[in-house]
Point group: C2
Chain length 293, copies 2
């Protein structure tokens, strides 16, 4: 029996989805959200995400910030599809040693994020895990996106520039609990310069860009010298740290995007970090890539 | 700091929902599903549920049966609202020692349940828990119910008879992994004899009936001698074992329900176990109640 250890999440999911009926989603599991078409003006977005104690947060982390992060991660996924979040369900699987204070502060943190991004909590579940087990927080949510504004990972075209918002790397220094999901920026983008493909950077450029490129049937060429670095970080950290929750998207150059971005969001960097190329052409870069891993 | 230990789930949820924006659901958290009105012909149902290793299943349990149970529990919740399940999201928080075989069989078990009840998987998430931690499986799902067919816990009326499907107790002997959610029966009920209030029995009559009665602003009077017992179980077990996943509902006597039920579902018992009374009147029974706890 093959143990899960050492198996990549992408490989695992690809094996598993063959075993169940997976419905009529425009894209199967693999994009930032599932996209459902009920025939209305808007498409329905569905997302589930989890935080594990000892992996995504530590017990003595400020519970309010953990609550913010739990919701903000999912808001970031809706943003990555060009959509907006709506309704949240939260499942808390907690050891009995967890304090009421912790849980209340976690809810307060969630509440701040709900209010900031116009979402609501509509249901939840609490249950106990055995003594010694890690707490697991699972968030599920629905969102929506106008039919014409939805952006998948798969729409990137040969020659498109690859763009990234903000600066990358250094999430573990604390940023990962306080990040701002780029919902406002994503909504502005889909309305004014519709990206051809988009996702949020949860696992780092090194893991996420290959996913976007593969979904778009392209390779990619990176300009490592252009990588926007978080203060104190090197290129390796910017590529691999993960939990940046910045937008990664593709859009052709020369259409005025940079100029209008700077006027609209002067405080947030927008950087061109490369371009989509033919699948074969990108291969050489993949070599340089592995070097960083 | 008050520890969670010893705090009831109902009390905890009541404290927590005050801390966040909770939206426009017809009923707040507390019913079997959240009910959302988007203005269409159908209401949208949302549900989240979790299974914890060592609590809801053991590691050496047949993974296919655990997968069935994970989905069937949620199907049962949609049934309890009078609705049908549609789209599922699954989050697996697993220790690295879990085998691929286990996870694949879990998915196969889910798939069997999806196919039986016309639902699909549209997304998922897998993540690791630290060594020694219990596996946590979190399921979120959407469903729907025709506007006229939705049944809440809160609609019970003074004098309504209290009904229960099937036989109760003995879940731990194995039934809890193989139960049949009463979706067909619930759909038939809402179309032909609309229950005034309904829920599914997940925590046992002893915990669930007081919830239904309270939501309906009633007390209840039980006929313990009428309790339909699973073979080998006594009344105490029937009241307290939980995980029966039978329907508990209220509906007036004398409208032909029993006769038509027997013709439609000859293999499944329908039993009148009591009636809704004034809040005060039920109090005496609550004493007898505590005796059973």
């Amino acid at each position: 029996m093959k143990p899960l250890e050492g198996m990549g999440e992408d490989e695992l999911i690809a094996r598993l989805v063959r075993l169940v009926p997976t419905g009529q989603a425009e894209e199967g599991p693999g994009d930032d959200c599932a996209v459902m078409d009920d025939g209305g003006m808007n498409l329905v977005l569905l997302k589930t995400d989890a935080l594990v104690e000892g992996v995504h947060f530590v017990r003595d982390a400020d519970a309010r910030r953990v609550g913010w992060k739990a919701v903000a991660r999912v808001v970031s996924d809706f943003a990555a599809m060009g959509g907006t979040p709506e309704r949240f369900l939260v499942t808390l699987a907690l050891p009995a040693s967890m304090t009421l204070d912790w849980v209340e502060n976690f809810y307060r943190g969630m509440g701040t994020c709900f209010e900031r991004y116009g979402a609501v909590l509509v249901g939840g579940e609490t249950c106990r895990v055995p003594v010694g087990s890690a707490a697991v927080i699972s968030i599920a949510a629905t969102g929506r996106v106008e039919r014409g504004n939805v952006v998948m990972r798969s729409g990137g075209n040969l020659g498109d520039a690859i763009w990234v918002t903000g600066v990358l790397g250094g999430s573990l220094a604390g940023k990962h609990l306080d990040f701002t999901p780029r919902l406002d920026q994503a909504r502005w983008l889909v309305k004014h310069f519709k990206p051809t493909a988009m996702m949020d950077l949860s696992d780092g450029v090194a893991r996420d860009l290959p996913r976007l490129a593969k979904a778009s049937s392209c390779g990619f060429q990176l300009d490592l010298s252009a990588m926007p670095l978080c203060e104190g970080c090197d290129v390796k950290q910017a590529l691999e740290d993960g939990e940046d929750f910045e937008l990664l998207f593709t859009f052709p150059e020369g259409q005025g995007l940079e100029r209008e971005w700077q006027q609209k969001f002067p405080a947030l960097k927008l950087t061109k970090i490369g371009r989509l190329v033919k699948p074969g052409e990108g291969d050489e870069l993949k070599g340089g890539w592995d070097h960083f891993r």
